[in-house]
């Protein structure tokens, strides 16, 4: 078993055993369920398809879930001093970072997968015309954009966790970074730089969910998520390496 697998397995077990893993997922599912039902009622008679409603119900809550799941990954290790024993192990920092990131991503994907039961449950009650409009591919594309978003937010959360010893602080900063900054940035553009609005239509990242769920797949968006995920993990592993220079 490689160090990556061992790290991943240990973190997933910890998530399963602790409230910091199970409680946020339960709350996430409850909030997503409520959002989904409200969105269904609002879009009654509208043009939105079922997978789009599911996607936009889930997407805004993923940053919150990821922030809470990732807050303890490194902050706890730093607070207890366990980080020293991890850095003494003969493995690269990026292996440790990637193992922890993958464990948080696994839990997020698990939660998002459970939430996909919501649209599936109501399919039998849809009118025949709406049923015929449903496409598994559209659902799959919605799932892919949610997976990309999950990986980005998990990577950002993991990165933020390295900078803190206090888990709550890590979660708050992570939520601000994941949810607050993109929205604030978009709001600033709308208010003060409206001429740039068309260049920043991707900014509230929920737009990507609308696009993907309706078949407007953009390689630019995919590249954006992958690059930002990689960049966050890179910063995380380099920060960890810097801890060696000045503890």
């Amino acid at each position: 078993m490689s160090a990556l697998q061992v790290t991943w397995l240990r973190e997933v077990r910890t998530f399963r055993r602790s409230f910091t893993g199970t409680l946020p997922i339960a709350l996430f599912l409850a909030v997503v369920g409520w959002t989904f039902v409200m969105s269904l009622r609002k879009s009654d008679g509208g043009v939105l398809q079922l997978q789009t409603i599911w996607g936009v119900s889930v997407s805004p809550w993923i940053p919150v879930l990821c922030s809470v799941l990732t807050m303890r990954l490194f902050a706890e290790e730093r607070a207890t001093g366990m980080i020293d024993l991890l850095l003494v192990i003969p493995m690269r920092e990026r292996t440790l970072v990637f193992g922890k990131f993958l464990s948080a991503l696994t839990m997020t994907v698990f939660a998002v997968s459970l939430s996909s039961l919501l649209p599936l449950v109501i399919v039998p009650w849809l009118s025949p015309s709406l049923k015929s409009a449903l496409h598994p591919t559209a659902f799959a594309m919605t799932g892919i954009i949610l997976l990309l978003q999950s990986s980005l937010w998990c990577a950002v959360g993991t990165m933020v966790s390295v900078f803190f010893r206090n888990q709550t602080m890590a979660a708050v900063v992570s939520i601000l970074l994941c949810g607050g900054i993109p929205l604030a940035f978009y709001a600033v553009i709308l208010v003060w730089l409206p001429e740039l609005r068309l260049n920043a239509t991707w900014m509230p990242l929920i737009t990507n969910v609308y696009d993907f769920s309706t078949g407007l797949v953009s390689t630019y968006a995919i590249a954006f998520y992958l690059v930002m995920t990689g960049l966050s993990l890179f910063i995380c592993s380099k920060t960890l390496a810097l801890l060696r220079l000045r503890s």
Partner: protein
Amino acid sequence: MLEVKNITFSYNTQETLGNITFDAAPGEILAIVGANGAGKTTLLRLLACLLMQDSGNTLIDGVDSLTRPIAYRAKIGYLSERCPLYDEMTVEEYLTYRLRLKGERQFRVRRRLDEVITQCRLDDHRKTMIRLLSFGFRKRVGMAEALTAHPPVLLLDDPLAGLDLPQRKQTAEVLTSVSGRSAIILAGHEISFLLEWCTRFLVLHRGRLVGSYRVNDYEKDLLQHKIEQQMIHGREEGHQL
């Protein structure tokens, strides 16, 4: 064999360790002693690759900590002063996890685990949750973890702190038994007790190595007096390396 050559380390602009040079071979139990703030923990953290020196080199069997850090780290076992552990795991789970993380092959994990658990007298606590252990037993688990992969160099930061006399004696027995295959470098304060089983002493005073003594070369009382004087005043006595 551990070789430390002219190591210097500063926190910001203040020099914490200056020009430290020594070596240690398997069979030796080397105690680093000094007053609080003398630089013992910093030196051990440097040797464990948890800090990076400003200048100088550290080598184990010719492997440099700066040029081949992963190969270097594969050769050390480290026990931190705070002895952190994962409280939610059992002793056996924790040691297995650490062995696997160190890249131990699957077929050897069980053997090493049994060996180290017996060695550190943890047989009755294999399935005990770590959070339920007393401080003394937590230290033993930390020690067991450091010993698991049979490292050529063991770095132990204050392994006796917080232990009662029987536990100290047990720790000394364990370390003496493994000293044949590992060079043991430990930091501590209890000179009279360390004199019973350590083979060499290095005295640090304000980040400088002010003395190095082989225990066999001196009367124990005389050596204890010399070391204590050097710890307090930093006067250079004994065999300077």
